[in-house]
Point group: C2
Chain length 187, copies 2
Amino acid sequence: MPQDAINDLLVAEARAGKQVVRLKGGDPFIFGRGGEEAEACRAAGVPVEVVPGITSALGASAAAQIPLTHRANASMVSFVAGQCKGLTEQDWSGLAGKGRTLVIYMGLASAPQIAEKLIADGLSPAMPVAVIENATRKAMRVLRAPIAGLAELVVRERVKSPALIVVGEVAGEAEPDLRALALELAQ
Amino acid sequence: MPQDAINDLLVAEARAGKQVVRLKGGDPFIFGRGGEEAEACRAAGVPVEVVPGITSALGASAAAQIPLTHRANASMVSFVAGQCKGLTEQDWSGLAGKGRTLVIYMGLASAPQIAEKLIADGLSPAMPVAVIENATRKAMRVLRAPIAGLAELVVRERVKSPALIVVGEVAGEAEPDLRALALELAQ
């Protein structure tokens, strides 16, 4: 359903006297188009309440135990969307690098272009990357490589969506044995 | 309690055979030092599970109905901490600007320096800023100005902590009448 049709539906149902809940995965204001839907409702005189949620970057990094900020090596964190469409026009310079964490949503299909783009922007080819596949699910995997090896990692490990890419020193920390932890915690 | 003492306490209580819950406001991995605490536990052989939370940027922006990303004017969002300590050494260049949203945690006390720093980095003095004070509380206020007027706004309106600063085009959207909405929704 195109976004305009969703907006129209929200307004129409509200005008019909219903309480409408628009339920989304993640957070409605982080790559969720919640802003557009709220605008459409307000423009139509429909009052809106926005309830925040756990966006993928927070949920996946908690599950993988990769802190997005860290006093030792990340004083800032940025979120971008890495779909192929429009990727080359996006200016990401400065978002990744020493002391900063970059989280890429929906970046799996364009992983080779993303790595190229970041390295061309001056990022060290040795900067650690973690790919969190199937976060919080039983089949979760946390795969690590230097950014220069990201494209090869994705192919070699046959990484599938959903997957989140974390670029920065925090991604290079020693990996906790999440499977062993889960077992121990379940006891 | 200094961070090291907190880490030691977590480990000591776990070793005494207890299930320890370390409860934090917001998200433990966004300016929450959760990474350090998890590391300390893992280093001591204590298994850790990390539960994500709603970080202030998400909670406050939902309450103020300011989307952090928007297809029309924000394809990326960054979070930084604006305490006075270490502010001048932090390189924020490129985090604020056209098409990008910058959220500043704990930036109230250093608001004048923050505005100066961003403008010196090339940000337009006309770039909209929103200050969200007391987000989600009854006394919540959403105050807006161009970044060049941020320092004056904070003084004039006597803004107090807790307050979150949002810099970017998304902060300049027409303000919904949140009080009227809250009243209508409460009926």
